[in-house]
Amino acid sequence: MAQQLSGKRYAQAIFDLALENNQVEQWGEDLAVVGEAFEDADFAALMKHADMSSVAKLAATATVLAGVNAMVRNLVDLLVSKNSVDSIVGVYTGYIELLDNHLGRQRVEVTTAVPLENAEADRINSFVAGLVRREVVLTTNVDESIIGGLVIQIGDRLLDGSTKARLDGLRNRLHTEIAASA
């Protein structure tokens, strides 16, 4: 938990720097590369390993993150040398959140039982855009266990229109109403 929180602080710092340099989107792409590298458990474990000298660690990041902006690499090197490797992924997610806010974008996750067709995705996109009044970045998931309908997650809010949720609701209501009439 502490790691995630400190990740947010670092994200805010690097985002402010990116704003000053007018490179918020490019740095975001660079951080995506960083995030991908450190989501690899083996690489993260290596970077945390006590037997590896910090010089060797920094050499490793320099190779892996060769194409990345110097400032972003500085941040990674700082976190690695401070033994805060765990918060790097948090920095990436925090940065994405700040970037979305900055650009007026809203990430939305849609889950359906069967894969969505493009036309349907577009309809959902415009529906949600009308709801949140922002540009919508849609990610789609397929989960058969929801049976039918769709689940839309907008940030911390959830619109559950799945058949599974409706059946659960029906079961609960029948339980309570039958209990009340008994």
């Binding site: 029906l170 009340a180 009439s181 008994a182």
Partner: protein, 503 residues
């Protein structure tokens, strides 16, 4: 059965027709950390304090700490079923319990779920567990008695409807017994009783329910139990849940008696929760709001004025002390909140004086206002006699031969009073019976009875009056007073009985 089947069919039909219904946006979050029955949740932007959270699989949570990024929640239910990374939904419901007449006679947990195996509780309404106490304007002073049926309490420490009277003492000094006798004595009366067991052994709760059932007292009683094996948050909400159930009846203009057994364990449960939620610890590691924990609970006991229905909640909180230390943190807190206390002493209990009430330390701040006139007339000298006796008794241990007659008389009176106030458990006396016994003492009609035979004398006297002079008892019950005529008749009846007393 056929009609019930039909009902259910029509109910299902309606549900199918309305299937789906409206969709609403709900707040969701993710569990980032869980342990010891407390979860940290990321997300849940719009959640309110004390809102119920849904962890799925019938596990509920209670949002307690609202911070900028993290919500600290207590898990109500099996804490092992919640995993890191799990999704949590807010329900939009501030914590509430089912209330209503259907609860009477039932044993339920603090969320209103039945524990007695008698099937679902058919309640129709719910009430918020946390509620602000009635304000000054809607209250009236306490002036009607709660008849406990215990001579020592009714005569010297009267309890009124709407009062908060603390029962305090060491372990096994008869604290629960006083509360139970009071509940049993309400049989056939208009008081609805609620017994809230917090952190008690399940065996003891079963025993309590068994005794209430055997005495026919479950017919007017609700038992709310959060046992020692239940999670701390469940124990924490138990008294508030019981109080919410009581408030429903009070709002209907009825009188309710609620027993919190006991608030020491309630404080422990809250301390555990607070420490796990990382709230700063204060004295004895209790959090800073430990006083408010009990004061806001006990302030909800009140007697409403006629404009608000005239209902009342009388609270009998119980506190267990360690080695008689009433000046410990929690006991002093609760003593200062309540309108008096009944102090039970192990020394008295072990020397056979039961109920083991220490008359000197016990007090009711409502006092005589909540006593019937009949009791007030006969109980006047009792407290004084006992107080003087306790002082002299230590002194008189070395023999009474050298003492003057007045002192010896005082000792005899004190001994008699002590003996008369002894009472077995589960046999609360009616108002009229209490009056008869106390009258006999007060008028000096029992001074010639040998101390060892006082108990037998009482029993036989009550049986005699009940058999031969039921009219006297009826008059006392009805008028709740002792007129000159009743006084004369009673004196005559007791004098008639005395020669027939066989000892």
């Amino acid at each position: 059965m056929a009609t019930r089947g039909q009902d259910i069919v029509s109910l299902i039909k309606r549900q199918i027709e309305e299937f789906g219904g409206d969709l609403t946006l709900v707040d969701v979050g993710t569990v980032v950390q869980v342990g010891d029955g407390v979860a940290s949740i990321q997300g849940l932007q719009g959640v309110r304090s004390n809102e119920l959270l849904d962890f799925g699989d019938d596990v509920l949570g209670l949002a307690l700490n609202l911070e900028s990024d993290i919500v600290g929640a207590a898990i109500l239910g099996d804490p092992n079923s919640v995993k890191e990374g799990q999704r949590v939904q807010s329900t939009g419901r501030i914590i509430e319990v089912p209330v209503g007449d259907a609860l009477i006679g039932r044993v339920v947990d603090p969320l209103g779920r039945p524990l007695d195996g008698k099937g679902p509780v058919a309640t129709t309404g719910t009430r918020s567990v946390e509620k602000v106490a009635p304000n000054v304007v809607s209250r009236q002073s306490v002036d009607q008695p709660v008849q406990t049926g215990i001579k020592a309490v009714d005569s010297m420490i009267p309890i009124g409807r709407g009062q908060r009277e603390l029962i305090i003492g060491d372990r096994s000094t008869g604290k629960t017994a006083i509360a139970l006798d009071t509940i049993i004595n309400q049989k056939g009366g208009d008081l609805i009783c609620i017994y809230v067991a917090v952190g008690q052994k399940q065996g003891k709760v079963a025993q309590v329910v068994g005794s209430l059932d055997a005495a026919g007292a479950m017919e007017h009683t609700i038992v709310v139990t959060a046992g020692a094996s239940d999670s701390a948050p469940i124990q924490y909400i138990a008294p508030y849940a019981g109080c919410a159930m009581a408030e429903e009846f009070m709002a209907q203009g009825k009188d309710v008696l609620i027993v919190y057994d006991d608030l020491t364990k309630h404080a422990w449960a809250y301390r555990q929760m607070s420490l796990l939620l990382r709230r700063p610890a204060g004295r004895e590691a209790y959090p800073g709001d430990i006083f408010y924990l009990h004061s806001r609970l006990l302030e909800r006991s009140a007697r409403l004025d006629e404009a608000n229905g005239g209902g009342s909640i009388t609270a009998l909180p119980i506190i267990e002390t360690q080695a008689g230390d009433v000046s410990a943190y929690i006991p002093t807190n609760v003593i200062s909140i309540t309108d008096g206390q009944i102090y039970l002493e192990p020394e008295l209990f072990n020397s056979g004086i039961r109920p083991a009430v220490n008359v000197g330390l016990s007090v009711s701040r409502v006092g005589g206002a909540a006593q019937t006139r009949a009791i007030r007339k006969v109980a006047g000298q009792l407290r004084l006699a006992l107080a003087q006796y306790r002082e002299l008794a230590t002194f008189a241990q070395f023999g009474t031969a050298d003492l003057d007659a007045a002192t010896r008389a005082q000792l005899a009176r004190g001994q008699l009073a002590t003996e008369v106030l002894k009472q077995a458990q589960y046999v609360p006396l009616s108002l009229a019976d209490e009056v008869v016994v106390l009258f006999a003492v007060n008028e000096g009609l029992m001074e010639d009875v040998e101390i060892e035979k006082v108990g037998a004398f009482q029993d036989q006297l009550l049986r005699y009056i009940g058999g031969s002079h039921p009219d006297i008892l009826a008059t006392i019950t009805e008028s709740k007073d002792i007129s000159d005529e009743v006084s004369a008749n009673l004196t005559k009846a007791i004098n008639d009985f005395k020669p027939t007393f066989t000892g």
